[in-house]
């Protein structure tokens, strides 16, 4: 407060004056506000004067024309009017004094009020300013704190996020790596299986091939083509065999050519009985179509 006063010495003066006035006026039972108005410095007063312009010539003329009636009436009127004017002036004077007083008083009161209001406004302003300043300061501080806290929070969140992200990434990488490894293992296993299957297939194919070749060789060995076969047409012979290779049935299919030629293909098959067996029983074929297709 002292610091404030120091900064505003006028305020001190006003304050002191105010206090003296308050003490002084207490005796007149004025309320503080009226007192304040009264002690205000009176400003310059402006008086309003009532004027009335009378046309004398017109009056004289009228008076002459109207004669005595008017004379008396005028005299009475003049008397009454003088009286009225005197009373009126007196009332006017009183009213005007009162009015001036009231006006001065109102002015004083207004000025005091204005000064008060100003001081109050000033005070209020200052207080408001101070408040605002304090508030701003507080707000600033709060904001700063909030910001700081927020930043901290944000930082921590970011940190956490980053950490989580890193963790997630790590986990994802780990999972991907595991998955890739697993895929690799699976692929390898698959490849192994495929290779094994291929190997088995190849083995079977070789055995099947060998099986057919054995049959082919045996029948070829036993095929005695008749010397008069001529064109040696293509012949088909259907053979049914049991798993022991024993020929159960021989059916000559499409087979042009001489009877002895047809006979020769049948004999070739019958002579080859039992037919060779496959290395793997899986490859056994119960029905075989033998195509005799001599090369020239």
């Amino acid at each position: 407060m002292i610091a404030f006063l120091r900064q505003h010495p006028k305020a001190l003066g006003y304050s002191l004056l105010l206090h003296v006035l308050i003490l002084g006026l207490a005796a007149f039972s004025f309320d503080s506000r009226d007192a304040q108005q009264l002690v205000r410095k009176p400003g310059p007063q402006t008086q309003t004067i009532q004027t009335e312009i009378i046309d004398e010539k017109a009056l004289e003329k009228s008076a002459r024309k109207q004669a005595e009636v008017e004379q008396r009436k005028a005299e009475a009127e003049k008397k009454r009017k003088a009286e009225a004017a005197r009373k009126k002036a007196e009332a006017e004077k009183k009213r005007k004094a009162e009015e001036a007083r009231k006006k001065a008083e109102a002015e004083k009161k207004r000025k005091a009020e204005a000064a008060r209001k100003k001081a109050e406004a000033e005070k209020k302003r200052k207080a408001e300013e101070a408040r605002k300043k304090a508030e701003a300061e507080k707000k600033r501080k709060a904001e700063a704190a909030r910001k700081k806290a927020e930043a901290e929070k944000k930082r921590k969140a970011e940190e956490a996020r980053k950490k989580a992200e890193a963790e997630k990434k790590r986990k994802a990488e780990e999972a991907a790596r595991r998955k890739a490894e697993e895929e690799q293992r699976r692929k390898e296993a698959e490849l192994q299986a495929r290779l094994a299957a291929e190997e088995r297939q190849r083995e079977l194919d070789l055995m099947r091939n060998a099986y057919y070749a054995k049959i082919r060789d045996k029948i070829s060995r036993n095929w005695r083509q008749p010397p008069n076969a001529g064109d040696k047409p293509e012949c088909e012979v259907r053979v049914e065999q049991d798993p022991g290779g024993f020929v159960l049935n021989v059916t000559i299919g499409r087979c042009p050519g001489t009877r002895e030629y047809r006979l020769s293909v049948e004999q070739a098959v019958r002579k080859s009985d039992p037919l060779p067996k496959p290395d793997d029983p899986e490859l056994f074929e119960r029905d075989i179509l033998i195509k005799f297709k001599p090369r020239d």
Partner: protein
């Protein structure tokens, strides 16, 4: 290497074998085989039931026939695992192991009156079943014919074509020398056995020709110092001169119905072909040409003649329809094609093919004009088809002496007939004997 072969060839092989899962039946292709005759075993016929064994060895006659056909190869007796005479005695696995695909067994049983029962069975070793089984009541003199008959049945069973073993051949044999020189017309079995003399002459005999019923022979005889055509009935030995015209009377040939003779006559100038109605002896001239037309033979349908003519400058074969028209030349390969005989199927000719001083027997396929030389001799002559068209009988020269040979069209087997007396030429293969009545 084998592995590579297998792996690279595998898809191809599989494709070739048709080994796709979609197909229910796998296919195996056989492209190789050995060309060869059918291995047969002919076991000696059991004669233990006879009081005296026969001198005729039926099995060896059958063996000889089958071998001669070229289609069969009779295994040597030493390789036979057993000597069965009835099918119930046959142990098939043993025979299969021996390599025989077929087996001929039989026995001869005595009959009252000095005749015999010949029983035979033709067995399929691989199928283990009988293909043929017959019993023939025969007299001793028919034993050889019976053996040939058995050969014919076997041949027919395998080929579907009647065998021609039980037929006869005719030929001219020249015996003696100088003043004692004789010409003999003979008839024998197809293996040369049972030769019978039909006619003997001091003058040349030529061109024997069988009548379609096998009962008569036409031939050319020089007994009157010039060639004349005769027909002789074999059983009765009755003969009649058919053509004794001025000039040449040559090369008789029977029509398939046996009612006509084709002849070569030069009575009207150069030798031309005529056809004579045997019953009326009415002649009809078929060819009219300055060149020599000779060696006519009827086609199986009896509607045309095939003959030799040198109208083109060298001997070539022609065909002329009996209804008329121009002769159609059949041979174009080689400078010399003569002595035609027509196979019973009408599709093939046997002929004498001459080139560079060499005369060999050839077969001409009339459908594709393909000529196949069948022999490798220097001087062959007179090819004559067997009635089934599967063999050709011909004469050739061995050491300045004519001998008879047969060549099998089935297997190109050349077979020399058993030695006939003298210098043998101009063979003619006879027709089938009348069908058995069984």
């Amino acid at each position: 290497m084998k592995r590579i072969l297998f792996t690279t060839l595998l898809p191809l092989l599989l494709a070739l074998l048709g080994a796709t899962p979609a197909r229910a039946v796998i296919t195996i292709e056989i492209t190789e085989g050995v060309e060869g005759a059918i291995p047969v075993a002919v076991v000696g016929f059991d004669m233990t039931q006879l009081p005296v064994p026969l001198k005729t060895d039926l099995a060896s006659i059958i063996t000889s026939d089958l071998n001669r056909s070229g289609l069969f190869k009779v295994l040597p007796e030493s390789e036979y695992p057993q000597r069965p005479s009835q099918s119930r005695q046959v142990q098939y696995p043993l025979w299969k192991a021996s390599g025989a695909e077929f087996l001929v067994i039989g026995r001869v049983l005595p009959r009252e009156g000095g005749s015999y029962d010949v029983q035979f069975q033709f067995l399929d070793v691989l199928k283990r079943k009988q293909l043929l089984g017959y019993r023939f009541p025969v007299r001793a003199r028919s034993l050889r014919a019976t053996a040939h008959e058995i050969s014919d049945l076997i041949y027919e069973k395998i080929t579907g074509t009647r065998g021609a073993f039980n037929t006869r051949i005719a030929y001219i044999s020249v015996v003696g020398k100088g003043k004692n020189k004789k010409y003999v017309l003979q008839v024998a079995d197809t293996d040369g056995y049972n030769p019978q003399t039909i006619l003997e002459s001091d003058e040349p005999l030529m061109s024997p020709a069988w009548s379609p019923d096998g009962a008569s022979l036409a031939y050319v005889s020089f007994e009157n110092r010039r060639p004349e055509v005769f027909i002789q009935h074999l059983a009765s030995a009755r003969r009649s001169k058919m053509a004794g015209f001025k000039g040449l009377n040559n090369a008789p040939a029977w029509s398939p119905d046996g009612k006509k003779l084709a002849l070569v006559l030069s009575k009207d100038g150069s030798p031309d072909i005529y056809v004579m109605d045997i019953a009326t002896r009415k002649l009809r001239r078929i060819t009219r040409h300055r060149a020599i037309d000779t060696e006519p033979v009827f086609t199986p349908d009896g509607k045309a003649l095939i003959f030799t003519s040198d109208r083109s400058g060298s001997p070539q074969l022609y065909r002329i329809a009996l209804s008329g028209g121009r002769p159609e030349r059949l041979t174009f390969e080689g400078p010399y094609n003569a002595a035609p005989d027509v196979a019973s199927d009408g599709k093939r000719l046997a002929l004498l093919y001459g080139e560079q001083g060499r005369y060999r027997i050839a077969e001409l396929d009339l459908e594709d004009s393909n000529l196949t030389v069948l022999t490798e001799n220097r001087l062959d002559e007179s090819p004559s088809f067997a009635p089934n068209g599967r063999m050709v009988l011909y004469a050739t020269t061995r050491g300045n002496k004519g001998v008879l040979y047969m060549v099998s069209l089935d297997g190109r087997v050349q077979h020399k007939l058993s030695d006939q007396a003298g210098d043998v030429r101009e063979p003619a293969w006879g027709p089938y004997k009348p069908l058995r009545t069984q």
